[in-house]
């Protein structure tokens, strides 16, 4: 006879919530085409709100698991990046870089209207550069979307993420320098981490395809090997205090250049990827503290407006130059709206590595994150649908 219901509830909280999130997502997608990830986030937020035991208390290993889930997405995103495209169409690269700088600048400037320390403003600006790969990739795959908006969103998202990590690492370096005056520590905190993460990811990107070429591996096998390699990479990155996200992204980019093909059916890493994705979004949402949400909401909404305007504006200006219509440029900018999963994990990880302001920033950005998490994927989805890059005929 079970008597300790609190203990039982605590034990089953995670699987129960995940199952619920999955069921809700299927229902809402079927009925109103609401992106599944939005439902996962909603369930995570409600879980956090009602303070479900077992969900909100620290469970060891969860941040790691979330990083693995996001690393898989980042690997897939990296694998979609065609470096040769930047050579054939340099406007794409220029757009990604300029837009990142503009977004950083305007967010830093506008956040100055609020009562925030400079280092917090710098962190918020650095994180605002990023677009959420998990949101973008998941939504695009869910719709089996294809076309210029989809392609561009993927490539710009990768550039945004790289520059966001670099900017954040520089901010962390600056913080170490200003608080401790230790130049070596500062340099270690920034450039070393970035360079080593890229190098480790790239090394994996050379090694794994080489390994796969040594023996003819069937297509599902290729996907399994890549997934295990991402797992290894994430573990190693933790051990070396590197950025697992940056490493996974470069692993994908370099592996793509070494040309071992994933099949169409293995997008999202199949069922295992689906499972991790449910967890990732629920977990990220559960990290937000509702008490912070209300306080930062006004600033959050303003920053979202400014960030969106920056991304849309830059894409509009570059649309014709880079070979698409203004309409598709506008939709590309809008589709880059999601940002939270990547930003939250990045912040969380920096906190784990001893960066004190991360906690305060997460709480300052709670309102922004909440809105972005819930609505970002919807905006991406509607942008792709408006661009007619999803199915025209009903199956």
């Amino acid at each position: 006879m079970v008597t300790d219901f609190a203990f039982l509830l605590q034990s089953i909280a995670w699987p129960l919530v995940l199952l619920l999130a999955w069921l809700l997502a299927e229902l809402l997608f079927e009925r109103w085409r609401i992106p599944r990830v939005t439902s996962y986030v909603a369930v995570g937020l409600v879980g956090g709100l009602i303070n479900l035991p077992g969900l909100t208390t620290d469970v060891p290993g969860l941040p790691f698991l979330a990083n693995v889930a996001l690393s898989l997405v980042l690997f897939e995103l990296g694998y979609r990046i065609n470096l040769r495209w930047f050579r054939h169409n340099p406007w794409m690269l220029a757009l990604g870089v300029v837009e990142s700088f503009v977004t950083f600048g305007v967010i830093y400037w506008v956040s100055g209207w609020f009562d925030l320390p400079v280092d917090h403003r710098l962190i918020i600006a650095a994180l605002s550069i990023s677009a959420s790969p998990a949101g973008v990739v998941r939504v695009a795959n869910e719709l089996r979307s294809a076309g210029q908006v989809t392609e561009r969103v993927m490539h710009l998202c990768a550039i945004n993420c790289i520059l966001s990590v670099v900017a954040l690492k520089l901010v962390v370096g600056y913080w170490y320098l200003s608080t401790s005056g230790d130049l070596v520590m500062a340099a270690f905190g920034s450039m070393y981490v970035v360079a080593t993460s890229v190098a480790v990811g790239a090394l994996m990107g050379v090694a794994v395809p080489w390994l796969l070429r040594q023996r003819s591996t069937h297509e599902r096998g290729v996907t399994v090997v890549f997934a295990l390699a991402v797992l290894l990479l994430t573990t190693a990155a933790y051990g070396l205090k590197l950025s697992p996200l940056l490493a996974a992204l470069f692993f994908g980019i370099v592996a793509r250049e070494r040309r071992v093909h994933l099949t169409n059916a293995q997008r999202d890493f199949g069922t295992a990827g689906d499972l991790l994705s449910v967890f990732l979004f629920v977990y990220i949402a559960s990290l937000l503290n509702w008490a912070d949400v209300g306080a930062g909401m006004l600033m959050g909404l303003l920053l979202i407006a400014v960030r969106t305007a920056s991304k849309v504006g830059c894409n509009l200006v570059a649309a014709r130059l880079s070979g698409i219509t203004e309409r598709k440029g506008l939709l590309t900018g809008l589709a880059l709206t999601p940002m939270s999963a990547f930003a939250i994990l990045l912040l969380e990880q920096t906190r784990l590595y001893g960066f004190a302001p991360a906690v305060a920033v997460l709480s300052a950005m709670a309102g922004m994150m909440l809105v972005q998490e819930l609505l970002g994927p919807v905006v991406t989805q509607r942008a792709l649908m408006t661009a007619h890059e999803t199915h025209v005929t009903k199956e």
Binding site: W85, N89, N264, G323, E389, T393
Partner: protein, 374 residues
């Protein structure tokens, strides 16, 4: 509406249409990107014509009316270069080949044009399975009766064109064991196959077409998916059995082979076509699709069996003077090389698969072949 009058055109002029695949650079699957590519191409003059096709992952290009191999090839190469450059700008690869080796037909999107939507409504899943890529060659005819004479005289040579152009051995991820699996998709359509036998345009237009139209099944010649069909609005006959080859060079050679053959047939030195020729038509067609150049065909006149390869080589010897007269010996040489030595593009693709073990590599080889030529 009665069939329009057959417009007279210069005999033996030619035009080539190629349906091409749009492929994403990520996993080399088909990419629904026709809209984006066509939008970009609109900004500058295009060296020919480019139009959307049934699904978003295909486009069709067409040359101007040409008389000789040199200018035809030059225009095709110009078109190819323009397309490849535009594709590079949008991160889209372009490839020939009669089928995409592993695309999933149910994922294809019907191009949002009333005619395509209407066809999709009528043919259901067949419309999406029609995501196959062919080369069409038009040959100009001075009058309608000449068109029907050529159309039916060519019946015994149809296997040549299937075998020479075959470049669709893979479908839905597997080797079909056919050199041209594409034609099996075309054959599923109710109005495919051969044209009815008549050598009189008057009878074709006023009896056959009028009867068909009265059934409500057809509205125009576009509704027929015949292997060779008359095109009254252009004043041509249109050969439709070829897979899109992997290179524009091969496409130009096939067109010039047809042109030289038509010149030979117009000399009327061969026995005239008759209904009985079609007794072996479907069998010969099957042999060409299944075994390519190694297929065995039956000569409808003599009833003798001969390998398609041998028959092509013999025909080349016969039509060499016409090749000289038409300035297309370079094209006929390539046809001879294909039939006699290097084999068709289906063989090339199978070799790629054998070496790499992956259908993605087959697509990559197709993409490279279009870019770099033979």
């Amino acid at each position: 509406m009665p069939l329009e009058t057959f417009k007279s055109s210069d005999s033996l002029t030619m035009g080539v249409e190629l349906e091409l695949q749009l492929v994403n650079t990520y996993d080399l699957d088909l990419s629904s990107s026709a809209n984006d590519l066509l939008e970009l191409l609109k900004r500058k003059p295009f060296p020919g014509v480019v139009t959307p096709e049934m699904t978003q992952s295909m486009i069709e290009i067409a040359t101007d009316v040409q008389r000789e191999h040199g200018p035809l090839l030059a225009q095709l190469q110009q078109i190819r270069d323009t397309l490849v450059r535009a594709g590079d700008r949008l991160n889209i690869e372009i490839a020939g080949g009669g089928t995409h080796p592993f695309q999933r037909w149910f994922e294809q999107r019907i191009f949002s044009k009333p005619r395509f939507q209407e066809l999709s409504g009528l043919y259901g899943y067949l419309a999406k399975q029609f995501t196959v890529f062919g080369q069409h060659v038009h040959i100009g005819c001075s009058n309608a009766d000449e068109a029907l004479f050529l159309l039916h005289s060519l019946n015994r040579y149809v296997p040549h064109f299937i075998a020479l152009s075959a470049s669709s051995p893979f479908s839905q991820g597997v080797d079909t064991l056919f050199d041209s699996a594409r034609l099996n998709s075309v054959f599923a359509f109710p109005l495919s196959g051969r044209a009815p036998f008549t050598l009189s345009w008057d009878e074709f237009a006023n009896v056959y077409f009028t009867k068909m139209e009265s059934t409500g099944v057809v509205k125009s010649m576009k509704d027929f998916y015949w292997d060779i069909r008359p095109k009254p609005e252009y004043g041509t006959i249109e050969l439709r059995v070829c897979d899109t080859p992997l290179t524009v060079e091969r496409a130009a050679s096939l067109a010039c082979y047809l042109q030289a053959l038509c010149r030979h047939l117009l000399e009327r030195s061969e026995p005239p076509p008759e209904e009985d020729d079609y007794l072996v038509y479907t069998y010969n067609r099957f042999q060409a699709c299944r075994f390519g150049l190694d297929g065995m065909m039956v000569n409808p006149k003599t009833r003798e069996q001969i390998s398609i390869r041998e028959d092509i080589l013999a025909t080349l010897r016969k039509i060499a003077p016409h090749g000289q007269a038409l300035n297309s010996m370079a094209a006929l040489d390539e046809i001879e090389r294909t039939a006699g030595r290097v084999g068709n593009h289906a063989t090339f693709l199978r070799n790629q698969y054998r070496e790499s073990g992956s259908v993605q590599s087959v697509v990559r080889a197709s993409v490279e072949a279009l870019r770099t030529g033979p």
